[in-house]
Symmetry: C3
Subunit: 435 residues, 3 copies
């Protein structure tokens, strides 16, 4: 596939998903998952009934919206949900009444210092109704009576999520999670859905996966908690690495956020690949967290989940507003960068074995045509690198660690490893040699 066109393909999928009114439950999630299933037919869709106890939480009622808007005193229709689903406060209860401006103001949300942005606001766990609009629009509201109309429904339905499982040679799993609860916003969070879908597609077409892969498309927080409450035992026994896929669509930066203790293989991989592809990447601390790693890495859950992002949630001005769009924020190049860095992380995990030299002392490379047979004053960088790899192949150091010791990215070692395997000089161990 042409690389340039892959970025466009990702962007096109994001555009198609853009208008859907996603929330933590409801039709928007189902519509989104059905579209994703086109690319990954193995996607399974699960429904968990409202009221189900999930750890300290409970699956909430399902939310349905038919229409919502306000009629101004002068008869203009504003805050029209059908024009932009951000206009309606998420999980608004139904309402239909005439109120004056002062009363209305209590239900309006805008951002004074971003006057042309509609904010993204929700109230999942307290009954409430409201509208979101730009500060500019709000400043123009005239005195008088306003007709507010929200045709919504909160009812005992279910929480919906999707899961893709791709079996590899080993039943050890790499876990990837993204979230489907955000309405019309692009970096946070259409980018994660789109990149995850294409990564799943790539992996399921690739027939030689060493590890098994589990992707989940869930609503944030309540979704990961629900999913964990049903699957924690399996995840804790199988998952040895993973990533929370979020904010992977803008072309401005790369970022890393660690797992809780910061010392998992996922952290090692993230830091290694970012160091060699985008050395000026931003490194955050666990205190800066804010997505589903909060659940996956919580005490007692402790899954090895790190985040590799483009520009992190909360760290760009368009975040959680209507400005987080597919024009100025998320671009084909931005999404392609998010896709590529995720793919690189997975390739690195797939290749990260423990090389062990099969002979004592240095092997005689000359007789294999792998070493210059006339001595020279200065040996070549290539030969030096190969000798370093051989020297570190003690069965205790992973290939990532060896690459770090050699001060090169792991992928520069692949041709060397291939040659050494071909010459039967090294064995690649799946696990670190036990002492």
């Amino acid at each position: 596939m042409n690389i340039k066109s892959l970025g466009l393909e990702l962007h096109n999928l994001a555009k198609r998903l853009w208008p859907i009114n996603r929330s933590i439950t409801g039709e928007g999630v189902r519509k989104t998952l059905l579209i994703l299933k086109e690319l990954n037919p193995e996607l399974s869709i699960y429904e968990v009934p409202s009221g189900t106890k999930v750890f300290d939480w409970e699956v909430p009622r399902e939310w349905y919206v038919n229409d919502a808007y306000i009629i101004t005193p002068s008869g203009k229709k504003i805050c029209n949900f059908k024009e932009n689903n951000l206009h309606l406060l998420g999980y608004s209860i139904p309402v239909q009444k005439k109120i004056n401006l002062k009363e209305l103001q209590k239900h309006l949300y805008s951002i004074p210092d971003q006057p042309s942005a509609i904010p993204y606001v929700t109230s999942y766990y307290e009954e409430r109704w409201g509208f979101c609009l730009t500060q500019n629009e709000r400043d123009l509201l005239e005195e008088g009576d306003y007709q507010v109309f929200i045709d919504s429904k909160l009812f005992s339905g279910s929480l919906t999520y999707g899961e893709i499982f791709i079996k590899g040679s080993s039943d050890r799993e790499i876990f990837l999670s993204t979230y489907v609860c955000h309405p019309s916003m692009a970096n946070n969070e259409l980018s994660g859905i789109v990149v995850s879908s294409y990564i799943a597609n790539w992996l399921s077409n690739k027939k030689d996966n060493r590890y098994s892969y589990r992707f989940v498309f869930i609503p944030e927080t309540i979704g990961s908690i629900t999913y964990l409450s049903k699957n924690i035992k399996k995840l804790k026994s199988k998952v040895f690495a993973g990533f929370n896929i979020t904010c992977v669509g803008d072309n401005r930066d790369y970022s890393y956020l660690p797992s809780r203790n910061g010392n998992t293989i996922s952290d090692l991989v993230a830091k290694h690949i970012l160091k060699y592809t985008y050395p000026e990447y931003k490194s955050y601390s666990w205190n800066d967290r804010g997505s589903d790693e909060r659940q996956y890495c919580s005490p007692g859950v402790d899954l090895p989940i790190a985040s590799i992002m483009r520009t992190k949630y909360g760290r760009y001005k368009e975040y959680h507003t209507s400005m987080d769009d597919l024009v100025n924020v998320v671009t084909p190049d931005g999404l392609l960068g998010g896709y590529n860095i995720t793919k690189l992380a997975i390739e690195t995990l797939e290749n990260n074995k423990y090389p062990k030299i099969n002979v004592l002392c240095e092997p005689q490379l000359g007789k294999r045509g792998m070493y210059p047979n006339v001595s020279t004053k200065i040996s070549s960088t290539e030969v030096n690198l190969m000798m370093n790899v051989i020297s570190y192949s003690d069965g205790y150091k992973s290939l990532i660690e060896i690459a770090d010791l050699c001060k090169v990215p792991i992928w520069e070692l692949y041709p060397i490893i291939e040659k050494l395997i071909h010459e039967k000089l090294i064995t690649m161990l799946d696990e670190k040699e036990s002492f």
Copy 2:
């Protein structure tokens, strides 16, 4: 109690103890302990006979002084012990004779570059007599015959020390040691005695101590060696933290000196509280030691004793001279600072448990009114801090370590912990969870 007046109270006790002629044995120690017993009636006084073997040492003879002075050729009485007990070299043997200036000079001690200070000099382990005086006074001595008179006695008596034990819920102990062998000097060492006495008083009036407390008031070096030789087994089995209380009375600085290996809970507490109360505090190394930690942390003894001081012994110009007084060096504010930092160390130890979250994943805080129920772009610092505490409450990290991870002093976590306990969301473990 009014805080300001507590500083004055401490200072008044120091003033009352000032004139007593303390040494490593003798009446001065006994008088001092009897005064301290007024504030802490539970103080027990012990006598260990001269000649008792204590590890590599032997309890020395007891020293008694009735009077001591010199009569100059012109009939003036100088170096009058009754005016300032520093005039007499500590442990001077009795003497009564007429000698010329040249002979006298061999027995005089002064400090050329601190010409108005009387130095503090002792000779515990070699028989000797001498007088200490200012360089200014010494420079004026005329030629001629001097009458020296020391009415002292060295005899088989005992070494005296005091001990206060305050029982807490647990029989694990916090050990505090200070020394009663210094005559009329203030920072080193009336301050330690005074601060320790008031800390003991505070703890014995407080009825909810988690730990037990053991205070000792001993002569330096020989006292701690004697005390250890009698109690080492008990101390090693019970004491898990402690401090050597010395130089806690001037208002100029704060200082920390580590235990021998620098990695005990006492060290952690000292560094944590100083970092947040006086970030520019001085941090010394074990090589800079000079008080009873030399015994408590010696190889094989290895008690977890650190020092939190104001200005460290040997690091202020008035040290070990008559200038180390209750006017220019030790002040009510200085003593109050010493008291407060010691109290803070103890409160920190009392509060330092291992929080463990009772639920898997983040708890639903909204339903408990602990979380904003409308989403906003930026979450508050208070909520963030609570979420961080929850996230680190894995039963393996102490509250001090969690505070360090959150980059706040431990006391900022107390209201959060209280709320989380009240909501039954965390359990406070006394010990780190075992893996």
Copy 3:
């Protein structure tokens, strides 16, 4: 022995060995070893037959050279092996023919940017012949027919090496290795041979060695591989420290190259002594290696071998050319420095025990005359250092570690340790106390 004259003696031995045509096998090695045996009669000489399998390698055929030169078209004899053995490419096969300049050029080696240096070139593992000459000489070669003459022989003989074993009180061994395969070059590598010989001589005359010593004089790479293949089991069970002795003859620098994992006692010693004798020494990484540590530290062999050098191989412009001589590069002072630093490393290992104090608490030093018996404001540096040593003598810290904690070189502690042993205050443990 006069120190100055020792440098000259080392230099004289190097001069005597200079003209011999050493290679990885053959008469040159045997002649060299016989000369070394004069100084160390206990040197044993071993022969390993050509064709012997040694790990992944095979002992090569033996090489013998009688004569070699080129006659130019104008009848001049150039590249005369008898004038400088570097003129002949190492392991050249015999040849005797007339060829034109163009054909000859394919067999000539020179260094364009070092036009007056004859390079050192070998071809051990591929049959080849060639001559090495200065670029200046090469540039003057006229067109025409050249008579090339190499009277050499490659035949099934043996590889020769020498070994000196010096028995100490313990059968734990310190291993020192140097190489005898380089023809007329001085720093790399007559210096290692000469320094090792004199160190062996010193040790074998010294009657009180704590450890046993094993020196090997081998050809580089194939020699260490051969030696290891015969002795690995013994070495792995006995050797606890060691050094590869190379490039120890110039007076320009000191350098350290670590063992593979950089954490052996040999590494600790090397860094400690260089820090205090030549603080600006160069510290290399394992990636910079290039001598027999490549074999001794290879995975599965893992002997504790570090290198303490003067200027490292490959890091001086004369390296592997005729300019690496006994005039401008290697000097008596340079060799003496190499000898002294190696001796210091050995003395440090011999002295590196684990002091353990015999009493609890500080000992009473006054009664032993080891402590001032009048107190003073400032205690002396000497007394402080002794008190620090006592304080760290817990049986868990080696004397090197204690010296590092005291911020002094280990040799400053020897008189203190001696005094403390004499006073029966410490016991020197051979091994770290087990917990």
